[in-house]
């Protein structure tokens, strides 16, 4: 019990890890059901009748159930898998270890922030078991639709609200810890880039999540108390005139995206930080342009608050507003480009070791580039008019959130697994998992751009209804097969994870010959992390320093700082 309700940041980080991996698997299963319907519209899947007698009677999916599946797939992946993995897991586990602190500034608040998360997950997923089924208005929950759907939608609102509080508690903790609890000598400019990224993320969370919370409360009122924050006069639903008046439909979109666009950066910045930490270790070279990457994170964080309405170019908001948001959206591509070129600069003239974590980090760079470049299409307001709400967008977001965030997460897990559990993961199995994941990921996501260019809308249960989409069957089936194989491939990761947990070779303190503070303590680190508080003498990426016996200089090694911070 004491282990279960621990205030140790490492235990909390691992609790986030295991819960979020379970949610990741659940979200993946939902995606495979979606792909079944898209590959073979209306084909029965008999065993599913046992799990969803109303959603899939006789194993044949009904449209309402399809809408629930993509709503819950998006919500589970974004709110319950990617954010808890990147921010909850790596934030909690790494911040104290990387800055030389014994624990978080507020350990109890930290424990509370974890325990609100499974509660939120349970409430959101409870929608599947209530009258009318789970939420089905998309993860964006646009009213008026989201006010017409009953108990499952209310579960969704309440669950996301609870999760918002968890995020806010975490963010307060991260900021306080990073600002106040750094070891002697750990100046801001000697912090690993993961810490810069997590600090930026925490600031974004703290500023944006309260807006989401307020917005959700307003939607909850519209859903349950008969208020009209988002509902104008004159709505006729199922032949009945609704009594509402005075609300604004677009208000929800502005408020929702004011949180949810920064949330996109909450879901990518930590992964950028993680791979900025992994690349130098396995290129045996200092990170190229440390300050440029750190400040690019801050720039993305700042600009991230000025781009939200690019989700609304075709909503009927003033086209001049569309122009200004096009400008900010184009500009936010610049700091991402800066980071990408600096990562390439890090590889340039390195001596690259192709370990499993390094492969995932390299894939992050390669796939994030596709995600980022494809974003430029929809930044252009006229092009967006055609591709908005098509599969082009779905492709773009999956290249960022899977190609980017999830490869970053796999990189992070395989990189810090030895520290977390004291044992090495199997590298051969890891490489198989990596290559198959990369192939099948592209097999499903890249054709989405083609579907979008052909004009296939997102969130449609049966595209064969449309003459202009009828020829897309073979492509959709190929994508679905890739999706199932991608799901199957993840069993390799699960097997490797649990096998290595018990049978992996002992890791030692510093198996990757890395420089940062977490590698100077035992694997796994004891309670309190460090026997004595470490003192930091140099930056986090001192690899291949000329004239040294070893090709890396730990941050705790005494001597003058070559960079002079």
């Amino acid at each position: 019990m004491s282990k279960l309700f621990s205030t140790d940041h490492k235990v909390i980080g691992l609790q986030f890890l295991f819960t979020a991996l379970a949610m990741l698997a659940f979200g993946g299963l939902l995606a495979m059901l979606l792909r079944w319907q898209l590959g073979w519209p209306g084909a029965p899947l008999p065993f599913m009748e046992r799990f969803a007698p109303e959603g899939m009677p006789g194993g044949i999916m009904v449209p309402e159930y399809y809408n629930m599946l993509f709503t819950m797939h998006g919500s589970v992946m974004i709110f319950l898998a990617i954010i808890p993995l990147l921010v909850g897991t790596f934030g909690n586990y790494l911040i104290p270890l990387k800055i030389g602190a014994g624990d978080m500034a507020f350990p109890r608040l930290n424990m509370l922030s974890y325990w609100m998360y499974p509660v939120a997950a349970a409430v959101i997923c409870a929608g599947f078991f209530v009258q009318g089924g789970a939420a089905s208005s998309g993860w964006t929950a646009y009213p008026p639709l989201s006010t017409t759907l009953g108990a499952g939608q209310v579960c969704w609102i309440v669950g996301v609200l609870i999760l918002g509080f968890s995020s806010i508690f975490g963010a307060v903790n991260y900021i306080t810890t990073i600002v106040n609890c750094r070891a002697p000598g750990m100046t801001f400019h000697r912090m690993p880039l993961t810490i810069w990224a997590l600090l930026t993320t925490a600031i974004l969370t703290l500023l944006a999540t309260p807006v989401l919370a307020s917005t959700l409360i307003l939607l909850l009122c519209d859903n349950t108390l008969g208020t009209s924050f988002f509902l104008p006069a004159g709505l006729v639903m199922d032949g009945v005139m609704r009594p509402n008046s005075g609300g604004q439909v677009l208000l929800w979109q502005h408020l929702f995206w004011f949180y949810s666009h920064p949330a996109v950066y909450i879901m990518i910045l930590p992964a950028m930080g993680i791979i900025s930490d992994i690349l130098p270790v396995f290129a045996r070279k200092p990170i190229f342009g440390y300050s440029a990457i750190a400040y690019a994170s801050l720039a993305i964080g700042g600009l991230g608050f000025l781009v939200w309405a690019h989700h609304m170019f075709q909503s009927g908001m003033n086209p001049v507003l569309g122009t200004s948001f096009m400008v900010s959206t184009m500009i936010i591509a610049v700091p991402s480009a800066i980071k990408t070129f600096n990562w390439l600069g890090t590889l340039w003239r390195g001596t690259i070791r192709l370990t499993t974590p390094m492969l995932h980090a390299l894939a992050f760079v390669g796939m994030f580039v596709i995600g980022g470049l494809s974003g430029i299409f929809m930044a252009s307001t006229p092009v967006d008019m055609y591709i908005h709400d098509t599969y082009f967008i779905v492709g773009h977001l999956h290249y960022v959130l899977f190609g980017g965030s999830l490869f970053g997460i796999f990189g992070g897990i395989t990189f810090w697994f030895p520290k977390m559990f004291g044992r090495m993961m199997n590298d051969r199995l890891g490489q198989w998992h990596f290559w198959l994941t990369l192939i099948f990921f592209n097999g499903i996501m890249f054709p989405m751009f083609n579907l979008g260019m052909a004009g296939m809308q997102r969130r449609i249960y049966d595209y064969t209804q449309y003459a202009h989409l009828a020829h897309l069957g073979p492509l959709n089936r190929m994508m679905s097969v890739s999706a199932f194989l991608l799901g199957l491939t993840q069993l390799l990761f699960v097997a490797n994870f649990f096998w290595s947990l018990r049978r992996g070779p002992k890791a030692g303190d510093n198996p990757w010959e890395s420089t940062t503070l977490e590698w100077t303590t035992a694997s796994p680190p004891p309670h309190g992390n460090f026997a004595t508080t470490p003192t930091v003498y140099c930056g986090p990426y001192e690899y291949s320093v000329p004239g040294m016996a070893r090709d890396f200089r730990p941050q705790t090694q005494q001597g003058s700082d070559p960079v002079g911070h």
Binding site: K285, M326, L347, W348, T351, L362
Partner: protein, 217 residues
Amino acid sequence: MLLPPVASSIGPAIDRLFYLILAVTGFFFILVEGALVWFVIHYRQRPGRTAAYVHGNTVAEIIWTAIPAVILIWLTFASQRVWATIHGHIPANAAEVEILAEQFAWNIRYPGPDGRFETADDVTTINQLHLALNHPTVIWLKSKDVIHSFFVPAFRIKQDAVPGRGGQIWVKPTRPGQYEIACAELCGLGHYRMRGFITVEPWDQLQQWLKETKANE
């Protein structure tokens, strides 16, 4: 598989913009992925080689900040020209049609000979929109219940119909034929089948069709 055939006056400009962005992003895609693969092969760990001890380069940082910034600003200006055409002045001679979207149909209303909506000579249809060839038509969008989005892939146009607020878009079809209207904004369980049909025909044929439709009402 590139963009499908286009059938509106604004479509070619949007397609050109799409291909321009495709060319620019395609160039950077090949550059970055090529460098990534080349570095991984060329700089892989081999006996006797040591990594360079380099922390960065200010000139390089300035170059790879400035070049993307200039290109992105250029794309912004190119996009704004087309955007201004789409949302600028509606052509003075534009015909008018009103579309009231509801779960899950498009209620189409023509003003009739008097040129005014909500009068006795209005012509109404469900899901059947006829438009005049080479003549601009402004479409006034309304919604009865939830948000719908009026999407005509062949015209490259998409505009939300927002309850309490409406929406507007104008279009000049340039090719006669049959096209589809799709709903692009999730609107409930029948969203996937909220499909409409467009016929583009010469002005005279359209007038004839309006007369016949009115007679059959």
